[in-house]
Amino acid sequence: MHPFTYSRATDVADAVRDKAGHVASAYIGGGTNLIDLMKMNVEQPAHLVNVAKLPLSKIEDLPDGGLRLGATATNSDTAWNEDVKKRYPLLNQAILAGASPQLRNAATNGGNLMQRTRCYYFYDVATPCNKREPGSGCSAIGGYNRVCGILGTSEACIATHPSDMCVALAALAPTVRVSGPNGERTIAFEDFHRLPGDQPEFDNTLAEGELITSLDLPEKGFAKNFAYLKLRDRHSYAFALVSVAVGLEMDGDTIKEARLALGGVAHKPWRDQSAEDLLKGQPATAETFGRVAAHVVANAVGQGSNDFKIELARRAIVRALKQAAEGQQQAGDMYLGGQ
């Protein structure tokens, strides 16, 4: 770990100013990922601005019927918030499927969006990695890539975004509010994370110095028909090999509206709006689910040790759609479908 200076910001403006005033600076929230990366010499910030105590921890109603999740609210407080449980149980499920209680107690909502890939090679500075060291090469291509992506990958990078929470968010489509040196702006969640292309060092579209202040959920929460299905190598405390978030609005047995997003398969939480369109107006049958699942993975490319993810994703989508259509899941379930 390299030496760094540290300050605790008092408000958002102070945080933005402080960060802009230091080279190689970084915001730190719960620190559940950044500190690890600093210990491994993957991240080497010279200055840390602690934003965890900023007055952004509220979860409150929005005038349009939505819900604002403060950026510094912890993942735990968010998952167990009564409004989240009642109105956005998909989010509750996804958060609880991730990490461990200890980590969720420390991790913030903003930080969850900012966590970095868990690709083995990104973490090990003894190996080349384009995300960590642009131009050094991708070790995962042709290497061991069980955790890596099958959709939207590039020749430069096949890393995945590791979050569970973000997969549910991709389906729920909130707006990300940010503040930066040039003022405030909002980013559609869909546009927040990016694909690797030839610049895998950038995980998202935040401009230099910008800080997430809240996630503004729209009113529609798919509280009746939803599913979060996470498949992993052990039953807790493991990143998703494949996860699926589904939100449906049903009209009898017909799907009126659909949201579908995947985790563990791409550089960003993978929402597939063309698949959502295919579901709309269709009967909730195995045939429909199978057709849509095949559509989602039609362009998937395996990388060797993750070839299985294509078939696994297909099957997981079918299962999650079925669970959502049947309205099987309850908020707060500790053990998720399929496991």
Binding site: D124, D233, R234, Y237
Partner: protein
């Protein structure tokens, strides 16, 4: 009624309060004054040479005390012999910082020592080292044809017995046959506690090393040999360990580094490895096994062949007993066992819980399941038809063997009779249900141990032996043995361990501590008892006058005649009346070879497992495990049960998730952290029942104990793998069985 019969009951751990209150000190918690910190730098390549170490750039940082590497390490011992520890395998032990050659990835190449840990870590990150890389080979698959039969190997290694009968012909002529290959990758011990050594500089070239180790004497002898230290120059201490599982059997490079720095800097130094470096200190080797079996028309085994090949380093021939068990667990007259190693550019493997047996057991017990199906027999019935009443490897009877009772009690508890034989024939909760079983066998070993017992005038007994406590319950069972031997309550006894100033005990491994140290503790207490008897008899009008030692007993704080309990004296009165402030006795214990030579001495077990498999998604949930163990006499029901629960969890990990992945391009493990090397978490662990089948066995040792640390792990992995087959009809022969293998 005696209140001082402690053996066989289940008292709480005597060291529990120390642990939960944080007052038990682990190796990294001895905060001696003026402590410096060392941080190890590891090689990023698997093979090659160090061309240059730019140490001066780092030495220039204020607070950095020194950078040690092959460039500046002082003259140390020259011959391999000095580096060989008690269980070093054949070959040349790795010498840290000895030469510029790199022989495995993550080889320690430098130690940066600084005033603070943070500075040492930072400086280590800055240290530039130039390497000349050479082509490496880390893939066992490429060495299938290059296996070789190892020589003598390490202490405890037994080459497979020669073939018996005509195993090739018998297999060809068998009514039913099976042949299959089984594989598992490398696995690492991953104890929670990192390897840490705090070396206290006592001045004048003398040190105390608080070291994470399962053998303080093994480390002491190593340090004396390597650094040329005298007996009084070095003391090694380990009173608590946060998990060992075999990783602490050999001295690790952390202790070498710490002692080197302390002696050179004449200052106390602590060296702690990183989690990543915990993947550079030995592992259960990547192993390939081929098993062939054939049966007679009556379901008895006609032939059994078992061959294993595993990896070792370029410099040592690490050996373990993988196939031998297959020649003794079942009755078979035509047996051929083979064992080979292959050299790769990796660090030497190291004993890991039930070394050899855990690997070979998977081959044997999954093959038994395959054979049972081929012969159309229930897997339990098949084992019963092939029950071995003699150890055919050595042609001797067992000193005791209640495996049959384990089968019966385990099956009854599990409800094996509800199992339907056909794969895919059982369902529950919308999932496929499978039931599988596997059994195992492990050595009952006693090694020479010594102990000292002291009793003070107030009647408090202290017993010492330089053994270890790696979480198994050593403190507790030794306290029970000592207290029962001298008829005292547990509170009146203190057992001390883990210090080379104490009487010598062997490394804590092989499940032999209870038998070895336990017997020494009993002998020392008996020797002390004889002295107490003599003191008692010196008193005027002693009711014990003329009594021989075997005519008296110590019960409830009294010394009394066995045949006339009214003829008794109170222990404390005897001691106080004697005027002595303290009475002490030393003793040691060695196996009774004369008594044992006619017998094969082993513990046995069987595990039954139930799984639920979601066929669409490949996910496996182990829903129940029953483990029945026959391991002689159980000293403490509670700690023994905990050991079995832990063993079952290990077996589950091996079956379903544990594997260290080597990227052969880099010759480097890639999942070297707790996030990606998966060990079971609470959510993976089902209800576990542990059954102990009591065995009376005065041949193994006077206490009749066989040890349970390893045997409980056997059978479990195979039982789960067999249950997955029963559930799905898919036979997965390469572990771990992750979900993609069932898609």
């Amino acid at each position: 009624m005696s209140q001082t019969n402690h053996i066989g009951k289940g008292p709480n751990r005597v060291d529990g309060p120390l642990k939960v209150s944080g007052t038990a000190h682990y190796s990294g918690e001895f905060n001696v004054p003026n402590l410096a910190y060392g941080y190890v730098v590891s090689s990023p390549i698997a093979k090659g040479k160090i061309v240059a170490i730019h140490a001066d750039e780092v030495r220039a940082l204020p607070g950095v005390l020194e950078v040690f590497s092959h460039d500046n390490v002082p003259h140390l011992a020259w011959f391999d012999k000095s580096y060989k520890d008690q269980i070093a395998p054949g070959g040349s032990p790795f010498r840290p910082l000895h030469e510029p050659d790199i022989t495995f990835n993550q080889q320690p190449v430098a130690l940066v020592v600084a005033d603070t840990f943070e500075l040492a870590r930072y400086a280590a990150a800055l240290l530039r080292i130039d390497y000349e890389q050479e082509a490496h080979e880390t893939n066992l698959e490429t060495k299938r044809a290059e296996g070789f039969v190892p020589g003598k190997g390490k202490t405890g290694f037994q080459p497979p017995p020669p073939p018996r009968g005509n195993p090739d012909k018998a297999w060809v002529n068998a009514t039913h046959q099976m042949e299959a290959e089984y594989a598992h990758g490398a696995q690492h011990h991953n104890p929670m506690e990192l390897f840490t050594t705090t070396v206290e500089w006592r001045g004048d070239g003398q040190i105390t090393a608080y070291d994470k180790t399962q053998g303080v004497f093994n480390v002491k002898n190593y340090l004396m040999g390597v650094f040329g230290l005298g007996k009084d120059d070095v003391r090694v201490v380990n009173q608590f360990m946060g998990g060992g599982f075999g990783s602490g059997l050999r001295p690790q490079y952390s202790v070498f580094m710490g002692v080197l720095a302390a002696l050179e800097l004449k200052r106390s130094v602590r060296v702690t490895l990183t989690r990543q470096q915990m993947f550079s200190i030995g592992h259960r080797p990547n192993t390939l096994q081929v098993v062939k079996m054939g049966t007679n028309p009556d379901g008895t085994l006609a032939a059994l062949q078992h061959h294993a090949l595993h990896e070792t380093s370029q410099f040592e021939d690490y050996t373990e007993n993988i196939v031998n068990w297959s020649g003794m667990l079942y009755q078979c007259d035509n047996v051929k066992l083979g064992y080979e190693l292959a050299k790769l550019d990796i660090y030497s493997p190291q004993d890991m819980r039930a070394p050899g047996a855990a690997s070979g057991n998977v081959g044997l017990e999954v093959a038994m399941d395959e054979m049972a199906y081929a012969a159309g027999l229930d897997p339990l019935e098949f084992r019963l038809r092939n029950y071995a009443d003699r150890d055919q490897n050595v042609d001797k009877p067992f000193s005791s063997k209640k495996l049959r009772e384990c089968y019966q009690q385990g099956a009854a508890k599990f409800g094996w009779e509800k199992r339907t034989q056909e794969p895919r024939s059982m369902r529950a909760n919308g999932k496929l249900v499978g039931m599988g079983m596997g059994g195992g066998v492990w050595d009952a070993t006693q090694n020479k141990s010594a102990a000292k017992a002291l009793i003070s005038a107030d009647g408090h007994l202290t017993v010492r032996s330089g053994t270890g406590e790696n979480g198994t319950g050593t403190y507790t069972i030794m306290t029970q043995i000592a207290a029962e031997t001298l008829g005292l309550p547990l509170e009146a006894v203190t057992f001390e361990l883990g210090d080379t100033d104490q009487p010598e005990a062997p490394i804590q491994g092989g499940s032999w501590t209870a038998a070895s140290v336990g017997t020494a503790v009993k002998n020392a207490c008996d020797a002390l008892g004889e002295k107490i008897l003599k003191l008692a008899q010196k008193q005027d009008d002693s009711p014990l006058k003329g009594a021989k030692f075997d005519e008296v007993e110590f019960v409830n704080g009294q010394l009394r005649l066995r045949l006339d309990h009214d003829q008794a004296v109170v222990l404390r009165d005897v001691l106080q009346a004697s005027g002595e402030t303290q009475l002490e006795a030393d003793s040691s214990a060695t196996p009774n070879m004369a008594k044992q030579q006619g017998y094969s001495m082993h513990s046995h077990n069987v595990a039954f497992a139930e799984v639920e498999v979601d066929e669409d998604l490949g996910t496996i949930k182990v829903t129940r495990v029953v483990s029945a163990v026959a391991a002689g006499r159980i000293l403490n029901q509670k700690t023994a049960r905990s050991q079995v629960l832990g063993s079952v969890i290990w077996g589950l990990g091996m079956a379903l998730m544990e594997e260290t992945i080597m990227d052969h391009k880099f010759g480097r493990y890639v999942n070297h952290n707790f996030a990606e090397y998966h060990i079971p978490v609470n959510a993976d662990i089902p209800h576990i029942d542990a059954i102990f089948v009591h065995e009376d066995d005065d041949i193994v040792n006077p206490l009749g104990v066989k040890g349970i640390g390893e045997v409980g792990m056997l059978g479990v992995t195979a039982a789960i793998a067999n249950a997955v087959f029963h559930a799905t009809g898919k036979r997965v022969r390469d572990l771990p069985i992750m979900l993609d293998k069932l898609l």
